[in-house]
Symmetry: C2
Subunit: 354 residues, 2 copies
């Protein structure tokens, strides 16, 4: 049996060098591989908002660095630097509303500030930078644990379907749902992946297909509207998706299109697995209706990558996420174990594990 | 009450002038309005295959002209011209496989040839051209009858959802499903239309949004993956689609994405109406599994209008249609009446009407 610790991310969507982070510009992929340097909280917030980077876990790591940069040069935690940190926290928290990992990372970092304060640190910035590094390192391990739990649910030679990008480009490690696919492939469990292109941002076409190709995993790109036909006419063994926030009752917000996909899976009797780190579970959000759904610019729907498709003056809607109710989720795969099916009681039990 | 005969098509996707037809180039819309002149069977077949024109009823009209052009200049029906007509019929029949209106129109035209032959015509070409004109004129009336039947199913102030383009650009008249919407709007029954963009060809974004804008009907463009979320979070009163072929048992083939949309409508308790002329019903096809589904080029999925989205070497699937089973269709709206719900017995009964 292969060793999961040998499964590493060769994509590197986030690199920290000295006092800056470099984000692989996901808007330019797959055509161009270029990095964007960000060395201030504002630059990081802007990169998150404009989707230079995306993916709930990766947004969390980025926000941790953005927060740390507000303390740049600071030794002691004086009033001035604490003010800058509080301001950075607000700025970063306002960058995108749905993925809870962002808020989790900011909370972890501000908690770190408070304890450094209490300990009368003289190395505030260095300690915060180290804390952001730790958040990122931890995500790598979290990914591996999810991959091991998730792959156990799949049988040999499976054909699976996935939406958006949930791989190395969405995390600091091998990914969430796509991490499961990578590990399952090593175990001989993946024959073929159907990737939904995921309009409007085309993360499936641009990012998932790119990652799968690099990994040598056989894949077919389909448009979002083809999912039902493929489920009916081919054997699909499982649908695997990520999540941006899981409410206390197990309802899961994820990329727009996921909710519809879960209904189609149900109609065809296909298991529907949501793969997300335990930091994505937000016990403070009671149910799916309480998750804020980001509404992005109409232009992103009226155009494809700057190419105008619809007539001038046309109007559009652009909800960027939707909510899949717990009843349509066969199992939630977390780093702490599989919650099958997700419910308030089972989620609480899994989250209480270390 | 407005008079439905005042509802005319101002779009003109097909114009016959002398010995040629001019097709509005639907690949160039909405950015460019230009016509492509076709004066031979091969040119018409090519325009159908490359989707310069599309829409099942319009393809039928185009094929009728393409067939007639094979007889250009002929007075008597001699062996040479009959050979050219038979060759044209084969060529046109091979242009696209799913829409049955194409085969219906060719059958009607070859039947006309046989009767002209029997009558020892001396005006073969002129008579065939007149027959193609009649097929086209008849489609205009057929559209109006469907619109009247369909609008009667809708209530005041409805918000409806539609996929692909089923309007004046898909027919010789006001359209099928979109013809219903246009007429219902005149009757005060349409508040808002959600149009699915309909990847990969984007007929919803490019064609339906253009038509709705010209008609002054409020519309919002959504990506195909947004349908379920909009159904859950907004009030949708009905889904209206066209069909490319309806089998004897009521199963309906239509643009890829329609089957999934029908499952989502069912899950949300929304009526799902298929609007198609009686010539779309093919009693020779027993059920949906017997309808040939066209598989088009992978490139059309890997690209958006020539813009490469996915990495070089990526593979895709491209089924251009899917089949909605009769059990998911609330009613089939034809020019001869409403079949609610569609079944073999009810379809036969409606088709036997004049």
């Amino acid at each position: 049996m292969p060793d999961i610790s040998t499964l590493t991310d060769r994509v590197a969507p986030l690199k920290r060098k000295g006092d800056a982070v470099y984000f692989l510009d996901q808007l330019a992929l797959p055509g161009t591989v270029r990095y964007k340097r960000c060395a201030t909280p504002a630059a990081v917030a802007d990169a998150i908002r404009t989707m230079v980077l995306r993916g709930a876990p990766l947004i969390g790591c980025a926000a941790a660095y953005g927060y740390a940069f507000a303390a740049k040069g600071a030794g002691k935690a004086d009033a001035a630097v604490l003010g800058r940190l509080a301001k950075a926290e607000r700025l970063l928290a306002a960058s995108r509303p749905t993925a809870v990992n962002l808020f989790w990372a900011l909370k972890a970092m501000s908690g770190k500030t408070r304890s450094l304060c209490a300990a009368k640190t003289t190395r505030l910035y260095r300690e915060l930078l180290a804390a952001a590094d730790a958040v990122t390192r931890e995500d790598v391990e979290t990914n591996r644990r999810m991959a091991a739990h998730g792959a156990a649910l799949l049988k040999k030679g499976s054909t699976v379907m996935t939406i958006c990008n949930t791989g190395a480009l969405a995390t600091a490690g091998i990914g969430t749902a796509l991490g499961v696919v990578r590990w399952a492939r090593r175990l001989g469990k993946i024959k073929l992946v159907y990737a939904l292109e995921t309009r409007p941002y085309l993360q499936g076409a641009r990012l998932t297909m790119w990652e799968l190709q690099r990994e040598g995993i056989p894949a077919r790109l389909i448009t979002d509207g083809m999912a039902a036909h493929i489920m009916k006419t081919e054997r699909i063994d499982a649908v695997l998706t990520g999540a941006d926030r899981v409410a206390a009752n197990g309802d899961a917000a994820n990329k727009i299109g996921t909710y519809g996909l879960s209904l189609l899976a149900k109609a065809h009797g296909i298991p529907f697995y949501v793969v997300a780190p335990s930091t994505t579970v937000d016990l403070a959000t009671a149910g799916g209706d309480d998750i804020p759904i980001e509404e992005r610019s109409e232009r992103e729907v009226l155009e494809v990558r700057g190419l105008r498709l619809s007539p001038a003056g046309a109007r559009a809607r652009h909800p960027a996420f939707d909510v899949t109710p717990a009843r349509l989720i066969t199992a939630l795969v977390t780093d702490r174990g599989v919650v099958k099916p997700p419910s308030r009681a089972r989620l609480k039990k899994v989250l209480s594990k270390c």
